[in-house]
């Protein structure tokens, strides 16, 4: 056990070093968790409550943050849900205005999972720092896609999830700036320097460490490549398919991420047709499988229910080629046409044209 334990420990600490390096933190500021959701829960539920019980977040957070805030409201917390503009951007000024004496946390996601919009994290971090309020960012979608330096960006807590940067499922991490105190979320044994109980998921942690190293090592060139694919997809879809709307900010968005609304048709049908053509995409909220409600994010950026239902998210990875993008767009064109022919909503439009 000792020898084996020693090797496991070394492997875990190497992974910790890699995570720290990837986001500009110190190894002792990194804690391993079982998921992005746990990291988010830990911060929101663990933040010390001496100053009060007011939390600021946005209306487009992932359910891991949003549902936890709803739960905290039932437990006597007060939560301000900041609106976003039609591109999905949170306004730093609004964050500033929302901060009160009893505000204990600002939690604004780094990049949105559905519409891809990247928030003005640096500005928000600066505001929080100058006003003495801890700043948490759910960076589950951002890590490995966007360069991140927690010190430069004044981030106090940062959540990540391995499977979003090609690591294994069921393992995540939380960055906690040195000196900041969170009460424990999973209580029990003394793992993770007494901060998180449970036998360590050693293979998961090792996988996370290796994955983050790979994902962040060539991030600039990878991003540039993904942006090229993305822009091509956007350009062709907007030119070749009528009645579409790009969701999320046109430039301030994840490099390999596209989200479109296709009027008159429904997202799941598009998805299923793409799937039958061997193309993986997602509609609605991909992380919260099981829920079929129209996405709160799409509604928050001002889409009607009807249009929100007809939305589709495509994400590209480093292994995708330009030819594949073209193939997807070609198929998409056919599918949209076919589904529109089937749609009673399109009947009128069809005739007008």
């Amino acid at each position: 056990m000792y020898k084996e334990g020693r090797e496991s420990r070394k492997a875990v600490e190497l992974a910790r070093d890699r995570v720290a390096k990837a986001i500009g933190a110190e190894p002792n500021e990194i804690y391993f968790t079982s998921s992005g959701t746990e990291s988010d829960n830990w911060v929101l539920r663990g933040i010390s409550t001496k100053k009060g019980k007011h939390i600021i977040t946005s209306s487009i957070e992932h359910p891991a943050v949003l549902e936890t805030c709803k739960d905290l409201e039932k437990k006597g917390y007060e939560v301000t849900y900041l609106p976003v503009d039609e591109d999905g951007l949170v306004s730093p000024q609004m964050v500033k205005d929302a901060i009160r004496d009893d505000t204990i946390l600002v939690s604004i996601m780094f990049a949105n999972n559905e519409i891809g919009t990247i928030q003005p994290v640096a500005e928000i971090g600066q505001i929080c720092k100058s006003m003495g309020v801890p700043f948490h960012t759910d960076a589950v979608q951002a890590v490995g896609n966007v360069p991140i330096n927690v010190k430069e960006l004044n981030i106090d807590f940062l959540s990540m999830s391995a499977h979003k940067f090609y690591g294994p499922k069921g393992v995540g991490a939380l960055y906690v700036r040195k000196g900041l105190r969170l009460s424990n979320f999973l209580t029990g044994g003394h793992q993770e320097r007494g901060r998180r109980a449970s036998t360590e998921n050693v293979p998961g942690i090792v996988g996370l460490g290796k994955a983050i190293e790979i994902a962040t090592s060539d991030i600039e060139s990878k991003s540039a490549y993904l942006r090229k694919l993305r822009n091509r997809a956007i350009e062709r879809i907007e030119k070749e398919i009528p009645y579409v709307k790009l969701n999320g900010h046109r430039e301030k968005r994840l490099p390999g991420h596209v989200n479109f609304s296709f009027r008159y048709i429904e997202g799941e049908s598009i998805l299923l047709m793409l799937d039958l053509n061997g193309i993986a995409a997602s509609s609605g909220s991909a992380c919260s499988s099981g829920s079929l409600d129209p996405s709160h994010v799409l509604l928050a950026i001002g889409l009607s229910h009807e249009v929100a239902h007809g939305s589709l998210r495509l994400t590209f990875g480093r292994d995708n080629t330009m030819e594949e993008i073209d193939f997807v767009v070609d198929k998409l064109k056919e599918i949209v046409e076919r589904l529109r022919f089937m749609s009673p909503l399109y009947e009128g439009v069809e005739k007008e044209v």
Partner: protein, 152 residues
């Protein structure tokens, strides 16, 4: 989401898509807000459904149940068609995931709405049970078979 082969097959090759310009009965149920609309056209001669077409805005299950429902009522009398239940449609498709059962309900309602329209036009007696789903029914809130809380 686990669709049966049969659902996938009807979704990929839906039968009877389109409209009947001179239909004897047209029914539309659901609404776009809910993410499901079904429109059903019937051609009826001597109380027998001799042609049926549909258009659906909705998920894979909505398309497949529309398609299956049209197949199941084609050639039937109006009264036979009224016997069509959502369960029968779902069963014919090899079952539906629990969260998708409301779509089969929509198909049943669409058939009823089209027959209601037909009966109205003909001045026939209208049974209470024919008051079709007009707006957004509870099924839209996707209640699952457990106590799961609803995400706003």
């Amino acid at each position: 989401m686990m669709y049966s082969e049969k659902v996938i097959e009807h979704f990929s090759n839906p039968r009877n898509v389109g409209e009947i310009p001179d239909a004897d009965g047209v029914g539309e149920v659901g609404n776009a807000k809910c993410g499901d609309i079904m429109k059903m056209y019937l051609k009826i001669v001597d109380d027998v459904i001799i042609d049926v077409k549909f258009r659906t805005f909705g998920c894979g299950a909505a398309v497949a149940t529309s398609s299956m429902a049209t197949e199941m009522i084609l050639g039937k009398t109006v009264d036979e068609a009224l016997q069509l239940t959502n369960k029968a449609v779902a069963d014919a498709l090899g079952g539906l995931p629990p969260v998708k059962m409301h779509c089969s309900l929509l198909a049943e309602e669409a058939v009823k709405a089209a027959i209601l329209d037909y009966k109205k036009r003909k001045g026939l007696v209208i049974d209470d049970s024919l008051a079709a789903c007009e707006g957004c029914c509870d099924a839209c809130y996707h209640k699952q078979d457990n106590e799961e809380e609803h995400e706003e």
